[in-house]
């Protein structure tokens, strides 16, 4: 009789533990998903701004065709990417090309005084900042989630429940090197 009682208690404790763990993992996973959607929103916002930027700059930068081409190319790469890693890579590429555009723009006083350009530059810089904040938040969430499913004894249960590590949004070391600006 007593053994049965003990067995029942042990089983209910284990079941309860699994339920609680499962629910908290689901919650965390949804947070990860949601914070990735945040990055996406900002990436899209930046992509929407770029055609305007290119148009406003075109007239001033006759000799800087390649810079603008690079931006357009990088922009479509961001739109085309589907995996987390691919998006991270394309996005940091686009960031770099935009940086070089703004650096080149320093040499065009007319352009720098253009009200439309000033506004767009503020918008894009703001969006760039938001992308990096969204990325930071996403990576924090991913780390939280991954730590939780890697800890013992969570790892045993999480694996059998079908949870696996999430990917963080990061450009590889190579992409992170400084932009080269050629005049």
């Amino acid at each position: 009789m007593q053994t049965w009682l003990i067995i029942t208690i042990v089983i209910s404790v284990v079941v309860l533990f699994v339920i609680l763990l499962y629910n908290s993992l689901i919650r965390l996973k949804n947070q990860v998903k949601n914070s990735f959607a945040q990055i996406d929103v900002q990436l899209k916002r930046r992509n929407d701004l770029i055609p305007n930027l290119v148009n406003s700059v075109k007239g001033y930068m006759k000799h800087e065709k390649s810079v603008l081409e690079n931006i357009t190319k990088a922009r479509s790469a961001v739109m085309g990417a589907s995996s987390v890693e691919g998006k991270a890579k394309a996005s940091s590429e686009l960031t770099n090309t935009l940086k070089s555009l703004f650096a080149v723009a320093e040499g065009y006083p007319d352009l720098k005084a253009n009200q439309n350009f000033i506004q767009l530059q503020e918008e894009i810089t703001g969006t760039e900042n938001k992308i990096s904040y969204a990325r930071q938040h996403y990576n924090d969430m991913v780390m939280l989630f991954n730590t939780k499913i890697q800890k013992f004894p969570n790892n045993i249960i999480a694996n059998s429940l079908g949870f696996s590590d999430e990917e963080s949004f990061e450009a590889t070391a190579q992409e992170r090197k400084n932009v080269k600006v050629e005049f």
Binding site: S35, Q38, E122, T125, G126, Y133, A134, Q136, D140, L144
Partner: protein
């Protein structure tokens, strides 16, 4: 960065405890007024009812009272795109669902504060001087500090303290005046004279003590809060030097006085809006930790 769940829960509990004590203190003050006018129970019931309704009102719109008191005006994205971008960016970084509203005080002093009842109903106020004199990283540091106040529900507790302690002070003042001018002559009842005297003595003591106690509590709380918001703000931007440099500029500002700040709203601001105090009493009763200490802590991060 995740502000620990405990931090949020503590602030929520503290807010309810504060409201509870507020209603009790108001009840006691009310019955003292009742005693003066020979009707304790009526005073007690009326004042506690009023206290309850008032707390509910403050919970809902205390932030608007504070914003009006400090002369803060709502602004649009068109007017201050840079401020909006900074707030939106840090909102994302903090993982909040709604963007706090932006308010601006037309003042050359460098200061900022956040208020509201929860992250969904919150606002960040900055002075025009702050936007003019700080660069991007510094402004981000300041906004991140305010964003942490919002995220961990400091704003709720701070808003309630501001408005509720304000009204207690006002009432105690009223009671003292009643003692001095109105009540004395009206007491016709000569029975239990000793009892009445003791009650009045207690009441008088309470009337004098409550504002002082309230003041001390508020100061103690807000100093610790500033250090914590500095630290968690720094993890939002991952760049503690931004806020450190901003605080340096703020401390070197020759004209730190925010015109419309008063004693009730002082503890909301990122740095004390009354300028530098040098005396020991100034230190004891200051609403903010010394700015040099805050800068040092940030630089060591």
């Amino acid at each position: 960065m995740r502000i620990s769940f405990n931090e949020v829960r503590n602030n929520k509990i503290k807010s309810y405890v504060l409201i509870f004590f507020f209603i009790i203190i108001i009840g006691v003050l009310g019955s003292i007024i009742g005693l003066i006018y020979n009707n304790i129970y009526l005073g007690l019931i009326l004042s506690m009812g009023a206290g309850l309704i008032y707390s509910m009102f403050v919970f809902k719109s205390g932030d608007k009272m504070i914003l009006t008191m400090s002369g803060a005006k709502p602004v649009t994205k068109k007017e201050f795109p840079h401020l909006f971008h900074t707030i939106e960016g840090l909102q994302i970084s903090a993982g909040l669902k709604t963007t706090p509203k932006a308010y601006v005080i037309k003042d050359t002093a460098l200061n900022a504060f956040a208020t509201g009842r929860d992250p969904e109903h919150s606002s960040i106020t900055v002075t025009t001087g702050l936007m003019d004199k700080l660069n991007r990283e510094e402004l981000e540091g300041v906004i991140a500090h305010e964003m942490s106040h919002i995220k961990n529900y400091d704003i709720r507790f701070m808003m309630l303290t501001t408005v509720l302690i304000g009204i207690v002070t006002l009432l105690s003042d009223f009671i003292l005046r009643s003692f001095l001018w109105g009540g004395m002559g009206r007491r016709r009842n000569n029975d239990n004279n000793n009892m009445t005297l003791i009650l009045i003595a207690i009441g008088l003591l309470l009337a004098i003590l409550t504002p002082i106690i309230g003041e001390m509590i508020r100061l103690a709380i807000s100093r610790k809060r500033e250090y914590m918001a500095d630290a968690s703000g720094a993890t939002l931007t991952r760049y503690p030097l931004g806020l450190a440099n901003a605080l340096k500029k703020i401390s070197q500002d020759p004209d730190p006085l925010v015109e419309k700040a008063n004693k009730a709203t002082a503890h909301l601001f990122i740095s004390t809006p009354f300028g530098k105090k040098k005396s020991l009493m100034g230190k004891l009763f200051s609403t903010h930790p010394p700015i040099q200490d805050r800068i040092k802590k940030l630089e060591e991060m």
